[in-house]
Amino acid sequence: MARAAKRGGLLFDGSDWDFDTLWRTYDVIEEIAQDDLGLDLYPNQIEIISSEQMLDAYSSVGMPLMYHHWSFGKQFIFHERQYRKGMRGLAYEIVINSSPCVSYCMEDNTMPLQALVIAHAACGHNHFFKNNHLFRQWTDAEGILDYLDYARGYIQNCEERHGPAEVEQLLDAAHALMSSSIFRHRRPPTPSMRAEKERERKRSEEAERAVHYLWSTLDQGGKSKGSTEEADEYKSKMHLPEENILYFIESYSPALKPWEREILRIVRNIGQYFYPQQQTKIMNEGCACFVHYHILNRLHQTGRITDGAMLEVLHNHTNVLTQPVFDDPRYGGLNPYAIGFAMMQDIQRICLEPTEEDRHWFPEIAGCRDWRNVLKQAWEGYRDESFVQQFLSPKVIRDFRMFALTEDAGTDWYTVSGIHDEAGYQTVRDTLERIGDLSLSQPIIQVIDVDLLGDRVLHLQHRKVAGVPLDDADAKATLQHCKRLWGYEVKLAESSASDPG
C-alpha cells in the first residue's frame, strides 16, 4: 500500500491521521525536500505529544530534558494561563537542534497540519540547523541531549548533597548573568558528556587538595613587595577584558566551591547553545516557512493532497505569516516569520523574473534562475543582520510599507528617517540590519579589571552604544547576584564608547 502511495494518488483524505499516514506522507515530503530542494538533513525523530506535554515542553525552553528550577514552573504557569484563557494557541510544533533532529507534533493537529509541521520543522528547520554556519560553529547537535541529561543529573545530585535552597540560589544568580555570559567572538569548546564527566572528576580531585592557588598566595605575606608584577601576571593570564561573565567567575572567583563552578558552567553552556538561535530568527523561520510552502505546493500540484487540505494549510500558513501594521492593536513588532518568508520568496522571484530594479540592486543573482542554490548559500552563510543587509529588496520594503524611525532621549517625538521610496530603501535596510544586530539590543558587559591580590573587587563595564542606558533597577539586582557568585564587591561602570559602526 505504501508502494502504491509512492507512485501517486492521494496521500490522505480528511483530517484524521494515523501512523501509517504519517509515514507515507513523511516519505514523500522528505523526497521532495532532498530531491527537489536539495536539502541536507539530520535524521528525523518525530514525536507525537499531547497539549499538556506541549505546555511542559514550553516551560523548559523547549528542551526535552532540563534541570529543575522554579523559573521553569513560572514559565509553565504563565503559558498555561494564556493557553487556558485562549489568549494564545499552542505552537503546532517545537523542534530541537539536535541530531537526530527531534520535533514535537501535537496530537490535536489535523493531518494536513501534520504534513505542514513535518515540512516546516523536520525539513526546513532541520536543514537550517545542520547547515547554517552559526549553528555549525557554535552548537554540537550530536552532544546536546547527552549534555542536558548530564546537567540534570548533576544538578539533582547537588540538590541532594547541598540542599535545594542552596542550589536554587546559585541557579538564580547564574540565570541572572546567563545572557551576559556568551562567547560572541571565540568558539567555545564543544561539551560532550564524557569530557564533562572527566572534567567534573578532575574538579573534585582539585577540591580534595582543597587549596585554591589564591590561598597559597595569602600565606606568603612577606613577598607582597613584588605583587604588582605578580598581579600583572595574573591579569595577563585572565585575558581581560572578558565578555563572558560566568566564565570569568567560574574560573577565578575566590569564593565558589567546585560544584558551584560546575553549575555555572552548565548554565553558561546552555546559554551559549541558544545564542545562534537568537541571531537567526528571521532566517530560521523564513527558511522553514519557505520550505513548507514549497513542499506543500508541490504536493498539491502533483495531486497528492486534496484542495481542502491545501486550503487548511494555506489558512494556517497565513495565520502564522500575518504582519499587523504598526497602529494595529495586535501589533507586537516585526514578525520574523513574515519578513523571512517574504525575503526568501523575493529571492526566488528575483532569480526567475527580475525587474530592472532588481538587476540594479542584485546584479549577481537577478535572472540567474538557480534560486535553489542562491537560497541554500544564503541559509548557510548568513545571520539575520547580514542577510537583511544583503537581500532586503525594495519590493519587500514596499510590500510591507516599512518606514524607519529615530528617537532621541528627551524628545517626545520620533523622526521618520526613511520610507519605502527610492531615497529611503537603503536607510530602512540599514536600520533593520542594526536592529537585527544583537549587540544593540543586548548590552555589552565586560569584566575589565580585578585585583586578585588586593581588594578583589570585580570591575564590570557596560559599553554604552548610542547613549542607550541599562535598566537601572534590574542592573542593581543583577549586580547583587553577581556579588553572591564572586564573593566580593562588584562594581559596574559605564563607558560612553563611540558608535560601534
Binding site: 522528505e30 521553569f72 504582519q323 504598526f326 528617537e407
Partner: protein, 438 residues
C-alpha cells in the same frame, strides 16, 4: 530517514517539580492571598482551587538589559500610510515606545496571576492546623489488607524475582568456588587451536603441551559444569506480606438550633463553620460520615437539605440535641471504632434551667466519647461589641465555660460575621495555642 515516537502515554506533569518549586518560592505571598480570599468568598466554595496574584518582586528574574527609554534609538515599522521622510510623530503617552520590539522579556511582570489547584489550596489553607486529639485508628468490619514488602524469600513467583539480589548471590558463589571464567577457557581453546594448526608432528614437547592443554580445558569445562552460573540456591524473590490496613473512621455530628431565633444569617454562618470542619476532617480521614441533628424543643436527625433549609417552630431545649447525639452514638457509632467529632451552633438561647442539664450530659459521658467538641455561638454584630469579655454571656455560654474548664477537648467561640469564621477556626485548631482561651 525518520522515526516516529508516540509520547502521548508518557507521564504527564513533567513540570510538576518545577511548579512545586515555584509555589514554595512564593509561599509567603500565596499564603496571604489564600487567607484574604477566604475572607472574601464563601466557605462553601473553599473546596476549589483559587487564583492567586503574586507580586512581581518575589519572582522577578533580573538580567542586564537595556532600559526602555533613553539614548538614540531606531525602529522599523510596517504599514506606513502617509509619513514622509523628516516627519515628526508624537510619542504615544506613557512613553511605551512605538515598537515594542525593544521591550525586555520581563515586561508586564508587575504581578503574576496563577491558579492553585484544589490540593495546593487546601494544603495552604489548613497549614499548621492539627487535629486536637490523636486519631483513634481502629478496624471496622471491612478490614482491608495491603501487600507490603517484607524482605526476601527463596520461593515466589517469577514476577517477583529480585534479579539484583539473585545475581549478587550468584557472583559471590562463583567467586568463592573459583568457577573458571568463560574468557579464560576461550583463551586456552584459542591457544590449543593455534598449536594444532602449527604443530610439527615431530615436536614432542609441543605435543605434550597440547595434551596438557586439552586436559586443562576438559578440567575447566567440567568444573564450569559442576559450578553452574546460576544455582537455584542463588535465587531470591521479593517477599510481600499481607498486612491489615488500619482504617480510621470519623463521624462528625452537626448540632444546630433551628428555632425561630435562628435566622438565615445565623444558619449561614453555622453552615460555613460546619463545612470548614468537614473539609478539615476529610483531609485526615479517608471517610467522614456526617450526622445532622437539629433541635427546637425536641431534636431529630435529619438530612443535610432539611438541616440547613427548613424551619421549625417551637421552644429551645438544647439538651434534647445532646441526648439525641448520645442515642445515635450508642446505636451506630461505637466509640472504640469511630473518631467522633461534634460541632454545635446556636445563638445561645436556651430554655432556662436546661443549660445545667446540658453540662450534666456532657460531663457525665458525652465528652468522654468525643475526640473533640466545638461550640460556636452566633451573635449579632452589636452584641459582639458588648460581649468582649468571655465571662459574660448567655446562660448556655456560661455553663459551657464550665465544661471547657474540665475538658481540654471542648472549645467554644463566638462568631459575629463571615470573616470571623476562618480566624476562629484557625484558633480552634492551630498547633500553637490549642485550647481556647476560655
Amino acid at each position: 530517514m525518520a522515526q516516529f515516537i508516540d509520547r502521548r502515554l508518557n507521564p504527564k506533569d513533567r513540570s510538576l517539580a518545577n511548579r512545586r518549586r515555584f509555589i514554595r518560592r512564593v509561599r509567603g505571598a500565596v499564603k496571604k492571598a489564600v487567607d484574604a480570599s477566604v475572607q472574601k468568598r464563601g466557605i462553601a466554595d473553599v473546596d476549589r482551587g483559587e487564583s492567586v496574584t503574586v507580586p512581581g518582586g518575589d519572582i522577578h528574574e533580573p538580567t542586564f538589559h537595556i532600559a526602555r527609554d533613553g539614548g538614540h534609538r531606531e525602529h522599523v515599522l510596517p504599514g506606513n500610510r502617509a509619513y514622509r521622510k523628516g516627519d515628526r510623530i508624537d510619542k504615544p503617552p506613557g512613553g511605551a515606545g512605538a515598537g515594542r520590539e525593544g521591550a525586555p522579556e520581563g515586561e508586564g511582570e508587575d504581578s503574576f496571576l496563577f491558579v492553585l489547584s484544589r490540593d495546593e489550596f487546601l494544603d495552604l489553607f489548613f497549614e499548621d492546623l492539627e487535629l486536637p486529639d490523636l486519631i483513634k485508628r481502629s478496624m471496622k468490619q471491612t478490614e482491608s489488607h495491603k501487600p507490603r514488602r517484607s524482605g526476601l524469600s527463596v520461593t515466589g513467583s517469577p514476577a517477583n524475582l529480585s534479579v539484583q539480589r539473585t545475581m549478587r548471590n550468584s557472583i559471590g558463589r562463583r567467586i568463592a568456588l573459583k568457577r573458571p571464567k568463560n574468557e579464560h577457557v576461550e583463551e586456552l581453546r584459542e591457544e590449543m587451536r593455534r598449536l594444532e594448526l602449527t604443530l610439527d608432528p615431530d615436536d614432542k614437547t609441543g605435543w605434550a603441551r597440547l595434551e596438557r592443554l586439552r586436559a586443562q580445558i576438559d578440567l575447566l569445562v567440567h568444573r564450569q559444569k559442576r559450578i553452574p552460573f546460576l544455582d537455584p540456591l542463588d535465587v531470591r524473590y521479593r517477599f510481600f506480606e499481607m498486612q491489615p490496613e488500619p482504617t480510621a473512621n470519623a463521624v462528625m455530628f452537626c448540632l444546630m438550633d433551628v428555632s425561630a431565633s435562628m435566622g438565615e444569617r445565623e444558619k449561614d454562618l453555622a453552615k460555613r463553620f460546619f463545612t470548614l470542619l468537614h473539609l478539615f476532617l476529610k483531609r485526615r480521614y479517608d471517610k467522614v460520615e456526617l450526622v445532622f441533628i437539629r433541635h427546637t424543643h425536641q431534636a431529630h436527625e435529619v438530612d443535610e437539605e432539611t438541616f440547613f433549609h427548613s424551619r421549625d417552630s417551637g421552644g429551645t431545649v438544647v439538651s434534647t440535641a445532646l441526648i439525641e447525639m448520645k442515642r445515635i452514638i450508642d446505636e451506630r457509632y461505637a466509640p472504640s471504632e469511630w473518631n467522633i467529632y461534634a460541632a454545635q451552633a446556636s445563638d445561645g438561647e436556651n430554655y432556662s434551667g436546661d443549660s445545667a442539664k446540658c453540662v450534666g450530659i456532657l460531663n457525665s459521658g458525652l465528652m468522654k466519647l468525643c475526640q473533640y467538641f466545638a461550640y460556636v455561638e452566633i451573635i449579632d454584630k452589636d452584641e459582639a461589641l458588648i460581649l468582649t469579655n468571655n465571662g459574660n454571656g448567655t446562660e448556655l455560654w456560661r455553663s459551657y465555660l464550665e465544661v471547657a474548664a474540665n475538658w481540654p477537648n471542648f472549645a467554644l467561640k463566638r462568631v459575629a460575621k463571615r470573616s470571623d469564621i476562618y480566624p476562629v477556626f484557625r484558633e480552634l485548631f492551630s498547633t500553637e495555642a490549642e485550647t481556647s482561651d476560655g
